[in-house]
């Protein structure tokens, strides 16, 4: 067995203390980030389940007439301003509806964004306004960077990510000596304190690369402003635009406000055909244009096969003549132009197909477990006579609040799945109702949990509630959309079926776990 040297006692205790303090401070927010983020990985895959209107037969994206889509949107939505940036997402097996993101003129000075859904077979257009019809996975996605908290939410998530990096480094140094021996001593037998400690160390070590990826990319997405401003000031003489141009070629294209309208020689269909002919292995994921219909207009085509870490590209063509203005060829772009996309792909798990996303999901859940085990170690180590009753009550309260907040997320996520089905799909402003049910439901669950003074009872109750709600998910989908689980299996609608099946599987597993394994034991000696 590999022998690792321990740190000197002073250093070990300092690392231990900074790890404990930073860990306890960030664990509440970090658990929410990882738990919500784990579900947000499947945002695209969940789409057909959450929006029954999208459960249509897939049309081959190369057979779609994209210029006809633009014409249809203009017909249905006369306020649509085609000179502002707009774009089309071609249909895929995951999302058989084609998305249209455009701008509409409110008056001469202001424009607002709108989303439209286009059926690629019938070219029927549904304009949804600024918010999409269904918002379930997007709400979960936004929760993972605290978008619901105005202005500061995203920075808060960035700060938490950065302190997570600090906690990883100090944790690694604290447990350095034990990395290999606790790894081999891993057992689920014996005292709970030992199980918490051993699993915290060995699982922490296994997930270390995964956690480093998220700590760094999370901090970057949340706090990029901290880096961008001083760098722009010193290296680019205060020119933030040229900083962005250095890493993003599309930002370098200049547009004039008084460009004249012309009849262009290049269309969306031409752009689609040209790019797919030159890059047959890379599906087109987005086509967008700026100053469309004007003399300096451009059409941009983005490709990505979602299989390689650098397998995405971007091609910009002039609207006037179809000349290539800039080309970012997949797997062949430079370090400076591809790294940001690599960091994004590492964060969103879009470089290895569905299997990779499942691995990411499991690793995210393990990370959640590591946080909870850390809190349990913290509290168990302090549940001793050497601490005053006041101190011990404080440790107990922190642990209870943490467990109530985090464990209640299991039933809360099931609630938003149910709310997505129960609130009628045609209802105006339904996103508000779905989100209110989710957040209020979570709050009620959380507050209820604070009355369960025993940790194992709290854990057991949340698992039972969550499991029952999970079992209701396929039932709700069956009742409200008519797509019962056996029907979607027979008709091979796997994106719908797998959501129902996973919910069913989790529900059954939770109830079995409860029946055979979860016992209420009193470890909460201080009330």
């Amino acid at each position: 067995m590999m022998e690792l040297k321990a740190l000197k006692p002073r250093l070990h205790n300092i690392m231990f203390h900074t790890h404990t303090v930073s860990g306890i401070v960030i664990c509440f927010a970090l658990f929410v980030i990882f738990y919500a983020g784990a579900f947000a990985l499947f945002m695209d895959e969940l789409y057909q389940w959450e929006n029954p209107n999208a459960r249509i037969t897939t049309v081959d994206a190369s057979k779609v007439d994209y210029d006809k889509i633009i014409e249809k949107v203009k017909e249905v939505h006369p306020k649509f301003d085609s000179t502002k940036q707009f774009g089309i997402v071609p249909p895929t097996a995951k999302q058989p509806l084609s998305y249209f993101y455009g701008s509409e003129k409110v008056n001469d000075s202001t424009t607002t964004r709108f989303t439209a859904y286009v059926n690629p077979a019938s070219y029927e257009v549904n304009v949804a306004g600024e918010e999409p019809t269904t918002h379930m996975s997007r709400t979960i996605y936004q929760l993972h960077f605290f978008r619901q908290i105005p202005v500061v939410g995203i920075y808060l998530s960035g700060v938490v990510s950065f302190f997570f990096l600090f906690a990883i480094f100090t944790g690694l140094l604290t447990h350095w000596k034990n990395i290999s021996n606790k790894f081999y001593a891993f057992t689920v037998k014996g005292k709970w304190k030992n199980i918490w400690t051993n699993s915290h160390i060995s699982l922490g070590f296994i997930t270390l690369p995964f956690q480093l990826i998220y700590a760094i990319t999370g901090a970057l997405f949340g706090l990029s402003i901290l880096l961008l401003l001083p760098t722009a000031f010193l290296a680019f003489n205060g020119d933030t635009a040229s900083v962005i141009e250095a890493i993003n070629p599309s930002a370098a294209v200049k547009y004039s406000d008084d460009a004249k309208p012309i009849e262009g020689a290049f269309s969306y269909n031409d752009a689609y055909k040209k790019v797919s002919a030159e890059n047959p292995d890379y599906p087109i994921i987005y086509i967008l244009s700026r100053n469309y219909g004007l003399e300096d207009g451009t059409i941009t085509v983005n490709v990505d096969d979602s299989k390689g870490i650098a397998a995405n590209g971007s091609f910009i063509f002039g609207y006037k003549d179809g000349n290539t203005i800039s080309a970012l060829i997949p797997e062949k772009s430079s370090y400076s132009k591809s790294t940001l996309n690599i960091l994004i792909k590492l964060h969103y798990a879009t470089y290895g197909g569905l299997f990779l996303k499942i691995i990411y999901f499991i690793l995210a859940m393990v990370t959640c477990y590591i946080m909870t085990s850390g809190v349990m170690i913290w509290r168990t180590a302090r549940n001793k006579k050497t601490y005053t009753d006041k101190q011990r009550r404080f440790h107990h309260k922190v642990t209870k609040c943490y467990l109530a907040l985090t464990m209640s997320m299991f039933p809360a996520v099931a609630i938003i799945f149910l709310a997505n089905k129960i609130v009628p799909i045609e209802l105006e402003g339904r996103t508000f109702y779905v989100n209110s049910i989710f957040f209020l439901g979570w709050l009620i669950l959380l507050i209820t949990g604070l009355f369960w003074d025993n940790y194992s009872k709290l854990n057991k109750n949340y698992i039972v509630i969550g499991s029952v709600l999970c079992l209701l998910i396929p039932v709700a989908n069956g009742i409200f959309t008519g797509d019962w689980i056996w029907r979607t299996l027979i008709s091979q609608q796997y994106y719908v079926f797998s959501v129902d099946f996973t919910a069913f599987f989790i529900g059954i597993s939770g109830l079995l776990l409860n029946k055979y394994y979860l016992k209420v034991v009193d470890v909460t000696t201080v009330k």
Binding site: N13, F169, T231
Partner: protein, 94 residues
């Protein structure tokens, strides 16, 4: 077992270290990348994108390092000195 209190610093010293770790560490990180950047004028894009992820790593390492030093004044001194040196390099060679 929680950390042994005899190895931890007093309140005043703790504040010095926390501020040196966060503020001092940030200042050293930013000025370091800019100082390197003035010698890589043809690779500004690469510099920006490298600093995008490496800054956080360096900053966190500097945070850990700040707590390892016994005297909080000393770590503030080191980080201030480094910041000044890197800023001088940037201003001289830009």
């Amino acid at each position: 077992m929680p950390a042994n209190l005899k190895y931890l610093s007093s309140k005043g010293q703790r504040w010095l270290k926390v501020t040196a770790a966060i503020i001092g560490g940030y200042a050293v990180t930013v000025t370091f990348h800019n100082a390197v950047g003035v010698f890589l004028t043809n690779y500004k894009g690469a510099l920006i994108i490298t600093s995008a992820y490496f800054s956080f790593i360096l900053w966190a390492i500097l945070m850990v390092f700040a707590f390892m030093i016994k005297n909080g004044w000393k770590i503030w001194g080191i980080y201030l000195l480094l910041t000044i040196i890197f800023t001088c390099i940037t201003l001289t060679y830009r």
